[in-house]
Symmetry: C2
């Protein structure tokens, strides 16, 4: 059976306070989709953040000395840098045009995941949108509501689209995951020759997010969620935090 | 229209000298699939390497002084380390259990992509399988044959499954790509609010490879290729090398 990825169309522009589960249930109904066990609903972080009202008015921020210095290095607005630093546990790298930090959730990403695209024209340069406050908890809350509505235990992933070390181009990544083995340990399994696999921990939720983001698109498509159907696994659920490589084991930190 | 990913079943174990295009054409026919424009056939590097006979007898290798030293650091067989160094332009990081190099094609990966899974029982510990000699050329040659057979211009990606900086777990990656925008520059496009996208170069072929590898599986599934259908793009084709971040622009080198 093929794996199918159906991007959900015509989800209204999300406003702070919106009931995201209700919007997703409506969009699934319009697409004629009733979630089944092993289905995974992937949701772009942007609409989770918008529903949470994770906007920050740049004018409300007073840049610290560190923010001013990083602003000079990076060429970024010092108030934006202040917003980035507030979301960061540590600055990992900085240079012109780029600030890479570790977020409080352990994600290593440019600008702490703050971006300014897909904001209304009036908001541009005036306010920015942070990552969800706790993407894992958002995924869990959405799963609870969706499972109750559909009577099926599904997987829920909150995705973001991020740059990478060594490679150009953004790909989707899982910043929240529930009901799936975010990191799938297959090391005990056999390969085709019956030999035990040496080192195959699969970045399952990241790959699902990458696949879903492909189908959603990144520009004006207006499809901020996708249902992935046809994958199966025999592994316990693990949260997105299982995908974070501990700093102590990271050769590039 | 949903994106569908159909893993191809029952491809025979590939032997050196096999005509991979013929095997893939047979497998597509068995799956009832006739490739159409914008379809992308993703092929695991392992069967490309096997068809090319990219096996190396460990006994045939004499470890250099560098290989012996790296063997001590990593705990790996010094002959295997010699094989890794032969495939490498530079050693990027090494520690116990892990050697990360930059290959001659610019790929930063553990063990130069050499692995020992899915080799026959008789081969284990005796010989290893290198990456394809030139994965980009392999992709191009396969595309030429497949396009001629099916009368349609398809995309072809050679995938590998690799670890990542900052994240645990392997995901699929494109090491050869033709007929697709491996790196898709969408920066001129507008977002939902009509604002130009700030920084969206999409790692398209990597994401397609990640999606396809999910459907193929990594252990004993025996499905080393998958057809991805339903994606569209308006962008010129670019090879997999477009995904390699130049060392001079890499903050983690």
């Amino acid at each position: 059976m093929p794996v199918t990825i159906t991007a959900l169309e015509d989800i209204p522009l999300v406003q702070p306070g919106d009931d995201l589960a209700a919007l997703l249930i409506d969009a699934l109904a319009r697409a004629g989709l009733t979630p089944l066990p092993f289905d995974i609903l992937v949701i772009a972080q942007k609409i989770v953040s918008k529903a949470q009202g994770r906007f920050v008015e740049l004018a409300s921020l007073t840049p610290s000395q560190e923010a001013i210095e990083l602003s000079e290095v990076s060429g970024k607005d010092s108030r934006l840098v202040q917003a980035i630093l507030r979301e960061a546990r540590e600055v990992v790298r900085a240079r012109r045009g780029l600030i890479i930090v570790e977020t409080h959730e352990g994600l290593v990403m440019a600008n702490a995941g703050i971006d300014q695209s897909n904001l209304s024209a009036a908001d541009q340069g005036r306010r920015v949108l942070l990552l969800p406050e706790n993407a894992q908890r958002s995924a869990e809350e959405l799963k609870t509501k969706l499972d109750a509505h559909f009577g099926a235990a599904i997987g829920v992933i909150i995705s973001d689209s991020v740059g990478r070390a060594f490679r150009l181009g953004t790909v989707g990544l899982a910043i929240g995951a529930v009901g799936v083995p975010a990191l799938w340990d297959r090391r005990g399994e056999a390969d085709l020759s019956g030999r035990r696999l040496e080192a195959t921990e699969v970045g399952f939720a990241d790959a699902v997010a990458a696949a879903a983001v492909l189908a959603m698109g990144e520009a004006a498509e207006g499809r901020p969620a996708a249902l992935v159907r046809g994958l199966e696994w025999k592994a316990p659920s693990r949260p997105a935090s299982a995908l974070v490589r501990p700093k102590s084991e990271d050769l590039f930190r």
